[in-house]
């Protein structure tokens, strides 16, 4: 009888201690887990802030570079050509040859101004739509003959995108194709535009050297061009995915949900 009572007391004591240990452990676990989660969220927010700060800096940097380029083009090409014309026309004896030379110079100046203007706001976007502008861009680039460029984009389909987004996608395409031409050593490039009522997808594939996806690099190590791409993608709330192709080359997919 006494032995049974002792056992009962032991059960009560050990049971109580066990239950209290479990209860305290559960409470402590939840507290530590939540603290860890908060720490991770704060770190993620800090990383995001840092990313945004770099993005903003890169936007400013790109804009300044662009302004500098336009200023140089105006100064070196347009400015010097106009000065040349002014000097020629200030001569007293203006003959037919001089007039022909001046006309040629003026034609060049108009061409330069058109190029600058086209760079700033491509008129093809308004004239041909985004798909037409991309096809036009591909055609112009393939004229160099260095790379075989194929473009599949249905120009009859109307893109359900705002003008700002169209311009951004056009710029992204320009930047991606320029990168391929400059750095990839590719011989073939395929540009495909896929459209559904909900998505606009642009796929650019090449058979070049391959490219380390930028998401695997930290932001500081990205080039200005890539930062510019990232900022444009973020600006239109799209998604840009890089994949290495087998045996060689890169596939870049830009996806924008229709607004």
């Amino acid at each position: 009888m006494a032995g049974q009572q002792e056992i009962d007391i032991s059960i009560v004591i050990f049971g109580t201690v066990g239950m209290l240990t479990l209860a305290f452990s559960l409470v402590a676990f939840v507290v530590f887990y939540q603290r860890k989660r908060i720490r991770q969220q704060v770190a993620a927010a800090q990383r995001e802030n840092e990313y945004q700060r770099h993005l903003l800096n890169s936007i400013i940097e790109v804009r300044e570079k662009e302004q500098k380029r336009i200023a140089l083009e105006l100064h070196d090409d347009v400015g010097s050509a106009l000065n040349h014309i002014k000097m020629k026309l200030s001569k007293k004896d203006v003959d037919e040859t001089l007039l022909a030379e001046t006309r040629e110079l003026l034609r060049e100046v108009v061409g330069h101004i058109r190029d600058i203007s086209n760079d700033l706001l491509p008129p093809v976007l308004n004239e041909l739509g985004l798909n037409g502008a991309i096809r036009n861009l591909c055609r112009r680039l393939s004229e160099s003959g260095k790379i075989k460029l194929e473009c599949i984009a249905d120009t009859h389909k109307e893109e359900m995108l705002t003008p700002d987004i169209k311009l951004a996608i056009y710029r992204i395409t320009q930047e991606l194709l320029n990168n391929i031409f400059k750095h990839s050593n590719a011989t073939e490039v395929n540009v495909v535009v896929e459209q559904t009522p909900h998505n606009y997808t642009l796929i650019i594939e090449d058979n070049g050297d391959g490219f380390i996806p930028p998401q695997e690099l930290n932001f500081q190590s990205k080039s200005l061009g890539l930062k510019n791409l990232a900022s444009r993608v973020q600006q239109i709330d799209a998604e840009l995915k890089y994949e290495l192709r087998i045996p060689k080359g890169t596939k870049v997919t830009l996806t924008k949900k229709s607004t």
């Binding site: 007391i9 009560v12 239950m19 409470v27 939840v30 507290v31 908060i38």
Partner: protein
């Protein structure tokens, strides 16, 4: 005086001192109910609607505690006070839990549980343990249900998308207090017939009850602080 007699006297004195300590612990356990009650009175204006429910409960608590003590002091059976206390306590646990969790199905479940538990307590008081005996059975069942509620609350915290600073979250303290109190007293109510129970029960129960009353106070203080700072 023989050494055996001296030893017997010494054991008797130790036992009397121990029993004094237990009755003191019982007194302090009952007295600790005044701390959250005082907090509830002072902070009532500044607490949220949900915490006002807790305030009402902690205001009723010291009345019950001291009614039980006074009846025991005058030799009147006081077990019926604990029967009443259990019903009230579980009702408040259910109401607070459904208010905090805010899940519709749980509100219905808690109402159903509350009604069933009250009916069971009445049956227990009339036919099973009797009104003059301590209500171990309902206390044990209440403990199990409160532990399940508390674990569910922590599970919800664990799976919630939003991260909270738990040490400043009043309901976290409330459920932590309940989990610890009901876990700690669970075996006491289950093994109530054991010899030596009269010694173990007051010590563990009083310590946990004091702890729970301090947790109630801290919960009310945290809740009011949040509203004041808003």
């Amino acid at each position: 005086m023989s050494s055996a007699l001296r030893k017997e006297k010494c054991v008797k004195r130790t036992l009397i001192e121990t029993l004094d300590l237990f009755s003191e612990l019982d007194f302090w356990s009952a007295a600790s109910a005044f701390i959250p009650a005082l907090g509830a009175l002072l902070l009532f204006k500044h607490t949220s609607k949900t915490l006002r429910i807790l305030s009402v409960f902690v205001l009723i608590n010291p009345i019950q505690e001291f009614a039980a003590l006074a009846l025991a002091y005058n030799g009147i059976p006081n077990a019926f006070v604990f029967h009443l206390h259990t019903v009230l306590e579980f009702a408040f646990v259910c109401i607070l839990f459904s208010k905090i969790i805010q899940v519709k199905w749980f509100t219905y479940l808690s109402i159903t549980l509350c009604i069933c538990f009250t009916i069971f307590c009445i049956i227990n008081a009339l036919y099973i343990e009797g009104l003059e005996a301590f209500n171990f059975l309902p206390r044990g069942i209440e403990g199990i249900l409160a532990i399940i509620f508390s674990v569910y609350f922590f599970y919800r915290l664990f799976t919630a998308e939003e991260s909270l600073d738990l040490l400043r979250y009043p309901y976290f303290w409330l459920f932590a207090g309940w989990l610890i109190y009901f876990s700690g007293t669970f075996f006491l109510f289950i093994y109530n017939d054991s010899a030596g129970f009269d010694i173990i029960f007051p010590v563990i129960h009083s310590v946990l009850n004091i702890l729970l009353n301090l947790v109630y106070t801290y919960t009310l203080w945290l809740g009011s602080k949040k509203l004041i700072s808003r």
